[in-house]
Amino acid sequence: MSCVLSKPVGIVEKKLVPSEAIILQGLPDVGLVGLIAASHIISQLKLTEIAYVESDLLPPVVVLHEGFPHAPLRIFGNSELIVTISETAIPAKAIQPIMRALVDWGQSKKMRLMVSIGGMPVPDRQDIKDPQVFGAASTLSLLNTLSAKGVKILKEGYMVGPYALIMRYCAERNLPAIALLAQSFYNYPDPEAAAAALKELTKITELKVEVSKLLEKGEEIRLRARDVMKRTQRELTQMKKSQEYDLPLYV
């Protein structure tokens, strides 16, 4: 077991972590889009837990599965794919150090690509049948790749939250990262948006993910995810997520 410490956050490795893998971030955010997508991938590809995030900045929460306690922020993977998932809302104050640690860790593992899946809140989401997905990238070449694959690019505006920081930290270090953001509800779990983002992900990477089961289980997911959504919403308010609605001022 080894630990890459980027104080005050540590990543504790339980198993051999592959190098040059794709790292997917599925952290609680608007509509729990990333969390639902990551959870679906972990279950469909039968990924196993390879590491977890240790930090005193996280609330004193453990999650029980089959009677055993687990850290709420865990990392799953196989030989090619690594997926980070958090089963509890991440406190707004902990987001910066945790995202910095995740990017540090990805860099130390010579990640091939870091993908953040998330939601882009739209007030009239219930009127939208097929949510559109927008992309952002940390490098010009990846931005061109997204465009070439037909992904609509987020050109101007604000990004707030976990994936916003991941994109910034990766851009600063010229690390390869993309964000795929599906139009979503702000504070209702949105499996349809997660499915839309995953469909775009399969266009960009060689990952094969089937979303029909995710859509079939949509109502069940919405019911099960209510409490995590409620706690996530409080953190979204703290981090002023609504700034994503704002019109930017450029001088």
Partner: protein, 148 residues
Amino acid sequence: MSRKRRRSIFELMREYMEDFEAAAEEMAELAVAERPSWDVRSSCLEPLCNIFVTTDEVVVTADMPYTEPENVKVKAISEDRLEIGAKMRQKVRFDDFGITHREGEFSSFRCQVHVPVPVNMERMKVYFKRGILEIHLPRSRGYEIKVE
């Protein structure tokens, strides 16, 4: 005209007081928010709700999976409070979530929503779209002040 202005200031103060009271009420609700999102005794789950206040209306939405539009009931219980209820298509048990240390089953959604600004409850319109309940409440109109 000056009388009108004075009244409008009082009106403004009343609105401030209402805002303050609403904020205090929200704080009070937050203080009791650390309660479960379910109630075994009434077999009810609390739906996730949202309130948008626009210039013309207040839009209240609620996420209601396992619900059909014909089983949803919306009632104005006072000038500024709505009660939302809906019978679910199927019962849900703790066991369905893998929870074996609690007992109980849930067959409906129920919650009360505080409307933060004066509205005309009689002109309420209710829609149900893609599992989301959407309630439109036109905002009350006061008198118009002539621009000098």
